[in-house]
Amino acid sequence: MGRVTRRVTETPRVLTLVLAVPDWPGHRAGQHVDVRLTADDGYQAQRSYSIASAPEDSPRVALTIERIDDGEVSPYLVDVLAEGDQLELRGPIGGYFVWDVDASGPLLLVAGGSGICPLMAMIRHRAARQSRVPTRLLYSSHSLEDVIYKHELDRLAGRGDGLEVIHTLTRSRPQGWSGYSRRIDREMLAEVGFAPEQRPLCMVCGPTPLVEAVANALVESGHPADRVKTERFGPTGG
């Protein structure tokens, strides 16, 4: 069980729940938890949420939730759950889509929307361990207002420790925007990413169509399939 200690509004549709989990066994960056809600009549609903906080923050665990309007779980987590409330968790879970600072090679992170969450755990883990592994985050959002963790990403990218953050805004741009303004494609990945010869590890997370387009483009560009790891967020009913 976790207890909500803080609610942080990230964007109009996205909220971070910071939980205190006294018996938390620790996690690896990229892992998720299953959150289970039980109604008074015993009906249960369960969803997976990526852990957005660094392992170094344990036993504090941060989950970032996007509110899906017709969802069964996320509206409760975003609208109803209050500080001090308890939440049933199972985890940490998953050993495939994870990254440790000891991993070899530069790191390319590609996120679509709330797919940033597990990648943010990796970026925070990297910062907490003062790693200088060359790391680039290519992050696709609808608009600047939809960018989750914007200020923290700006701050971390400004430390000059080898982290670069590149945004693309696919629906609307602020006046004077000089960055990318289209969906991620092969050309963008070639401009932003590392050459295959540098043997980067590529971690891709987001909606299924984005993940598949990016993973296919990376493999077609010469990156070995086993250096491209994916986590798809499907239409899971929120």
Partner: protein, 94 residues
Amino acid sequence: MDDAQLRLDGNAVAGKLREVFVDDMTSARCACGSCGAVAEIGSQHVYMYPLSPGAVLRCNTCQQVLMVLVHGGGRHRLSLQGLTWLEIPESVGA
């Protein structure tokens, strides 16, 4: 909505597999009985819905069914019909 939009990764069944196996299974490797491709469970394709009683794991190379997980009536049933082998590393996961 076409099938491609419903596709998830093996990561999505990590929790379900933890109810059957002791260790995390997403970094376990398996060989497809149809095409022979070898990959980690976490990289295979998964089809499931929030209210469905289970999940279907398909080969990320040839799309044949590797594994079917069903949970209901107080039991877990794991069908491994499409696998030649499953290789579980010692003490993986958290």
